[in-house]
Amino acid sequence: MIFVRALAVPIAFFTLWEISGRLGLIPQEALSRPSLFLYALYYALADGSAFTAAAQTLLTTFSGLAVATVAGIFLGVLLGSRPILQRVVGPSLETLRPIPSVALIPLALLLFGFGIRLEIAVIAFACVWPVMIVTIDAVKGIHPRFFQVADGLELSHAQRLRKIILPAAIGQIWVGVRVATGIALIVAVTVEIVVNPNGLGYAMIYAQQMFQVDLVYAYLIWTCLIGWALNWLTGQVDRRWLAKYQMSST
């Protein structure tokens, strides 16, 4: 029943679109018809081009995300465990944060040229902030007694990080990474639309420039599905693996 209700609106919407398309009520050269773009999607999937584009986009998304996660945890642990550093370095980082990530596209283009590194750099800049902020909070929230224990055991910095800080903070850090995952895909597609000849964004803008209207909508649906799948996947990780950490950190 829930399933029926969930599907009722999209089905009604696409049916109306199809019917008004067939009756010629809406401009075909701009809006196409659901039956036509589902057909185009089928062909793009069948000849593998949709999968290639998705693989390119997802590869850069995850690479950028990985860079941002490592950098964000590094900065977050550093700033979170040394209050003096946060007060001195923090404001400089805060002035970088309001820069819209896409404003860095020309700069990254200047530095790296077209290609995967350009895209990774812009994604990493956009995604480092949520990870850094939650990590700072998480590290600050660790009970001081844990650090006293670490002092007593004379743990090295690496051991402290691995045995105390990360296990205690991972639940919260994951929340930041999850937010960053959504941002990463958005930025990846955006960079591809604007400059980078790669992946889903480029496939869409290329189809538009070739006036392959059906393909534009086919890729739009495909991108939507991938975004949704990524979201679902992070939700699953949440439920399956990280539940216990989150329980213990609250």
Binding site: R5, P98, V102, I186, G201
Partner: protein
């Protein structure tokens, strides 16, 4: 909130100046390529020149106008739709799954379709910005209107308020804190989309400026443009925060 003492401020300033000074030094003596990392003094000079000879104003105002129109349209529609969907459990049953499905869609992904539909002109720009930035405020409004205290509804019933008065005087203020959270996210998305649209369709604005600066290897102007965009984001965000404090200050005092 971290509170900053005077020594912290001095330290923070010294760090920022130290970084810029090191950059200036390294670039001036070409330890790092001044083509890619021009000395900060040169970027500031480029910014100053653009302000003095007036080159910056037209792109700046175009960008601001574009994003504000788009954002306002998104905010009005988002709050209205959010109020309607949020207040009706029946509508939510049908619409919430679709909204959830569309939420992770990258807003910029509609640019190609929007170009097909509306061409490369200003109407495309504003539609893309409005469509892209409506989601956060819409979802936040739905949440704000559906999670109101049921006692508020009971009070309204006993006062025999009309539906419109109830929405305006009780439901809307109660939903305000979530609405503002959505408006804030929408604002930053609208700036991002304004820049993207300018780059994509060659319409005048700061986004087009920095892309042209890059194509001509005028890196000082590129950094100046990025700086301007950062300042723009910061200014608009703090304006919104001020408005938020004015409007829902009572909420925080109440708790």
């Amino acid at each position: 909130m971290t509170r900053y003492s005077i020594s912290d401020r001095v330290g923070a300033l010294a760090f920022a100046i130290g970084i810029l000074a090191a950059w200036q030094f390294l670039a001036s003596f070409e330890f790092i390529s001044p083509l890619f990392f021009p000395p900060p003094s040169r970027s500031l000079l480029a910014l100053w020149d653009m302000i003095v000879n007036g080159q910056i104003w037209l792109p700046l105002t175009s960008t601001i106008r574009r994003m504000i129109f788009g954002w306002l349209a998104a905010s009005v529609c988002g709050v209205l739709l959010g109020a309607i969907i949020g207040s009706s459990p029946r509508l939510r049953l049908y619409l919430e799954p679709t909204l959830e499905f569309l939420r992770p869609l990258p807003a910029s992904a509609i640019i190609p379709a929007a170009i097909l539909l509306l061409g490369l002109g200003p109407s495309m720009a504003i539609s893309v910005i409005a469509f892209g930035s409506i989601w956060p405020v819409l979802l936040a409004s739905v949440y704000g209107f559906k999670t109101r205290d049921p006692r508020l509804t009971e009070v309204a019933q006993s006062l025999e308020m009309s539906w419109v008065r109830f929405q305006l005087e009780i439901a809307l203020p109660a939903a305000m804190p979530s609405i503002f959270a959505g408006l804030r996210v929408s604002l930053s998305i609208s700036l991002i989309l304004a820049v993207v649209v300018e780059m994509q369709s060659g319409q005048q604005g700061l986004g087009q400026n920095i892309l042209l600066a890059q194509r001509n290897y005028r890196s000082a102007e590129l950094y100046a443009g990025i700086f301007m965009l950062g300042m723009l984001g910061l200014t608009l965000n703090s304006l919104l925060s001020t408005a938020e404090r004015r409007i829902i200050g009572w909420k925080r005092n109440a708790h």
